[in-house]
């Protein structure tokens, strides 16, 4: 018995494939930043200038996360209190220098956070260097505006190897500044 071909099947499949493509495109899932975002956990307070200290700001406040404000650079400075505990460093001057000779200055807030909005530095040229208080960062920043991407905060899933700096084999540890640098920047 001869088989009867059904020319309608491909015609039916086409709109389905097209629809799926559009849907997937709209999601624009990028597993690499999404995995980072998912690992950050839920919001503990309300979103604002002082939320999520130590976390990689630009992963959400960048082109993928698309959260407002859009940032070109952001992080958290810490210092040590009299007992040696790591605490947020407030009122510290942070200067970011780019490769084209430009620079921008910010002051850390009550949570130690600081950031620069994209609109404030549209032509920023990587790599960057940073001075936080009296300390100058020894390495360059190649492409990631989130301090927290490299200065990961140690936790149970990410044990520190250096108890003073929080550094590990793949983390530079806390952005630690001198306690005397606090309050100099308003």
């Amino acid at each position: 018995m001869p088989r009867v071909k059904s020319p309608a099947r491909p015609l039916i499949a086409l709109p389905i494939i097209f629809g799926l493509s559009i849907s997937l495109g709209a999601c624009r899932l990028d597993p690499t930043p999404q995995e980072v975002i998912d690992s950050l956990g839920p919001e503990s307070g309300s979103p604002g200038d002082t939320h999520r200290p130590g976390q990689p700001c630009v992963v959400c406040h960048g082109s993928y996360g698309a959260v407002s404000p859009q940032m070109v650079f952001g992080g958290t400075a810490f210092t040590n209190d009299e007992d040696g505990n790591v605490i947020p460093a407030q009122g510290v001057e942070v200067i970011v220098f780019d490769s084209a000779g430009g620079s921008r200055k910010r002051c850390t807030n009550a949570a130690g956070n600081f950031y620069l909005e994209k609109e404030e530095w549209k032509d920023v040229a990587f790599p960057l260097t940073v001075k936080a208080g009296s300390r100058r960062m020894r390495s360059l920043i190649g492409r990631d505006g989130s301090c927290g991407s490299c200065h990961k905060i140690p936790d149970v899933d990410f044990p520190e190897r250096d108890p003073e700096t929080g550094a590990a084999y793949d983390s530079a540890g806390y952005v630690l500044v001198d306690p005397a640098d606090q309050g100099a920047c308003q």
Partner: protein, 172 residues
């Protein structure tokens, strides 16, 4: 007619699979030794420049990045107990960097070494650094600047001590 075609296709498929299986059967333990310019020069002069300029934790110092680089101020080798920003780059890390850089473009690197570095400008190491090949990190060196001379000189077997040192000094 259809059945003849199907039979022929089946025979062809079996022949292809048989051929593939036979070709894979031999030399399972064979290794290919790729050529690369001097490891000594790389470790002494080239690696310090690459570590500083390319091996930051957010670039080639990323654990999953191609041409992964270890270094004092970047990623540390998991087989050792060092932290980023801690002790100087170790022998193990320098050796790993050499392996990493040599194998970015292994076949072309072979050709380049055979040709005494005259084809070095075709290597991804050079084209990506110059930004003539798409590179997420953008243009890292310009033709004939210190960084470019450091990389190309090493690939040509030249003394690159001064060029690489100058390239590092420019980053400070």
């Amino acid at each position: 007619m259809t059945s003849t075609v199907q039979r022929a296709a089946l025979v062809f498929l079996v022949a292809v699979c048989g051929g593939l299986a036979a070709s894979c059967r031999d030399n399972l333990d064979a290794t290919v030794i790729n050529k690369c310019p001097s490891q000594e020069v790389f470790e002494q002069s080239v690696s310090p420049f690459l570590e500083r300029r390319c091996g930051t934790l957010d670039c080639h110092g990323g654990i999953a990045r191609p041409m992964r680089l270890f270094g004092q101020l970047g990623l540390r080798h998991a087989g050792e107990d060092n932290v980023s920003g801690g002790k100087p780059t170790t022998t193990l890390e320098l050796s790993a960097n050499y392996t990493s850089v040599c194998n970015v473009d292994a076949e072309k690197m072979n050709e380049s070494v055979d040709d005494f570095g005259n084809q070095a400008e075709n290597l991804l190491l050079v084209t990506k650094a110059r930004g003539t090949e798409k590179h997420k990190g953008g243009k890292v060196v310009s033709e004939n600047d210190a960084g470019d001379r450091c990389l190309r000189g090493w690939l040509k077997g030249e003394d690159v001590t001064d060029a690489c040192q100058e390239a590092v000094d420019q980053l400070d």
